[in-house]
Amino acid sequence: MKKKSLTNPTGKDIRHALMVGLWFMFLTFPLLVIKVNPIEQTVTWRWANMLWVGGASAAIALACRLIAARRTEKMEHLSRMPEQTALRHKLPLLFTQDRLRLLGAMVMLLLLAFPLAFSTYQVNIMTTALMYVILGLGLNIVVGFAGLLNLGYVAFYAVGAYTYGLLHLHFNLGFWTALPIGGLMGALFGLLLGFPVLRLRGDYLAIVTLGFGEIIRLVLENWGAFSQGPSGIADIPRPGLFGIGMTLDQSLVYQYYLTIAMALFTVFMVNRLRHSRIGRAWFALREDEIACQAMGIDTTALKLTAFALGAAWSGMTGVLFAAKTTFINPASFTFMESAIILCIVVLGGMGSIIGVAAAALILMLLPEYLRAVAEYRMLVFGAVLVVMMIIRPRGLMQPMRQTHLPAR
């Protein structure tokens, strides 16, 4: 049955695919076909590109339609069998628990062996990607678990980074002392943001958090006496290891492993939180605030905990960031960063730990490795985002549910 529909696209399918191809040719025409050279005052017409775009998008559109048709066919087939209807909602799950464990172990091995096989440059990129894994998981607590839309998450990242920067500047404190302090400062600012927005939800909450993020950045930029303004803080030391001297390359590799450790720690903590009394209450808050209150849950305390914990992780990652780049200034903490972290959470699947981690790696690594196609990389990046949201609107993965009954 499946084979038949795959090999036999109907005329309607083909017409649809051709329309998509034409539409994409039209859309990308100014970007991909016309090339103006302002110095020589010539215009190059690259018609070959147009054919490529048209052909490729038509092929993809055709494949998408066939896959969708196959899926609905499968679903209908299942629903015709009454005893199997219960299985229907489990159908879209991509991975089973066992396969996932295997996959996780393989990814872990790959990550651990990474510095042995690749250059320092690659290791550096990977470190950044892993930091976004931590940030994504932290924001996942606030947005994914508790359902509180936070668009100013980067503010706590900045708080963490400046905590380390300033503590080093004034008191000569090292990375390991600054790390917990950065986390605490993040949590404190999380509470500071949490209190005024306790009554807000959805769009209103998003706007206030957005404003909060901008306020922190503007303060850092303009309060020169405190933060040294746009010129930032330089010469922040990299993390130390019992005072052992390291070359730059060694130090970067060390930092890479440190970030892996932090990411693992975060996954562990977030997973424990998720499957606890508090995690359940967060999910309940996300689902229905009124019913959540009626169940005897103090939603005020719950929201503040979510804000503070999410911010704590952002603060710690900020310290890590300051140590990695050795130089911080307010330009690193723009709204764009918040948006990317939110993208990671939404793309990964709100509430799903594995999904968010995977999305962070994909979103951070994709633009780097797309440098091969240089000028089109952001175009491809955007296209991937759009396509992802169309194919899997609820994210890469659904949050995993704890089951208690033996498998049927």
Binding site: A294, M295, I297, T299, R401, H404
Partner: protein, 270 residues
């Protein structure tokens, strides 16, 4: 819950002169209620009479304009509920269901019930992260009790199903189980039989009676008059935010004010 004769006579919940204004509209006007331990009490009245508003005031969802709410659990001291936030009222022993079902749709059936255990458990962040023996025990207790509740409402084998995938009647029962998980003294049911077929209503009736036999009091809003007359020990009838009649089912059924409220009459004495 070994009620001596003395405590059995004492009302579990005393509501006196409860008033609720929404701007210029008086939704509740000097309402007095008394609910005895182990009593099934029904609240009836035409649409817009203020029944759900009364529920919201009792459970802290609305802050009443005036009046007094006293809860006296058998063998324990009196507690003032007026002005407490909803979660403290639930902790004090009042649990409710909603007229339009408010489950947590994307959580499993079991998780829905376990959320109800929240106010009877104590694990904090430390417990969540380090899972000391006390937390593990507490979680296991919650799990055991929740599964037992699910068995009781006949959803034991669907514990891992998402709540949104349950049929309507099962969702209503799940809401009751979730409220029971908070170990209440008084269970408030807002139209529990709405939209149920006769067989489901019968099952619901048995469930409510068995809950009463466990020692709980029940206050229910219901439009199914046959069910109300069969179930209730005592009925309060409301109209336009005021109590118009109260008493045993037979008395209330014959009460002229109730008949007038439901069937209407020429405005002779208004």
């Amino acid at each position: 819950m070994c009620g001596t004769i003395d405590t059995a006579m004492h009302p579990l919940l005393t509501v006196s002169a409860l008033t609720m204004d929404f701007g210029g509209i008086r939704a509740l006007d000097q309402v007095d209620l008394r609910i005895l331990p182990r009593e099934i009490v029904a609240l009836i009245g035409p649409n817009g009479a203020g029944k759900t508003t009364l529920f919201n005031c009792l459970t802290g969802m609305c802050r009443p304009t005036g009046g007094q709410l006293l809860l006296t659990p058998p063998g324990r001291s009196q507690r003032r509920l007026y002005g407490l936030p909803p979660h403290q009222i639930t902790a004090a022993g009042l649990a409710r269901t909603f007229q339009n079902i408010r489950l947590f749709p994307n959580m499993t059936v079991l998780e829905n019930v376990m959320v109800g255990r929240h106010c009877r458990t104590t694990a904090k962040l430390f417990g969540a992260i380090f899972r000391p023996a006390a937390t593990v025990r507490e979680e296991n207790d919650s799990l055991g009790m929740s599964l037992a509740l699910l068995d009781r409402i006949g959803l034991g084998d669907q514990a891992d199903e998402l709540a949104q995938n349950l049929p309507y009647g099962a969702q209503r029962r799940l809401e009751i189980a979730r409220a029971l998980a908070t170990s209440p003294q008084l269970l408030l049911l807002d139209e529990p039989a709405a939209g149920m077929n006769p067989q489901e209503t019968e099952e619901l009736e048995a469930l409510i009676l068995s809950i009463r036999d466990d020692g709980l009091s029940i206050l229910l809003i219901e439009h199914d008059m046959k069910l109300v007359m069969r179930l209730s020990d005592h009925i309060f009838a409301m109209d336009y935010g005021r109590l118009i009649a109260e008493g045993a089912p037979d008395e209330v059924r014959r009460h002229p004010a109730v008949i007038r409220a439901y069937l209407g009459t020429e405005a002779t004495d208004a």
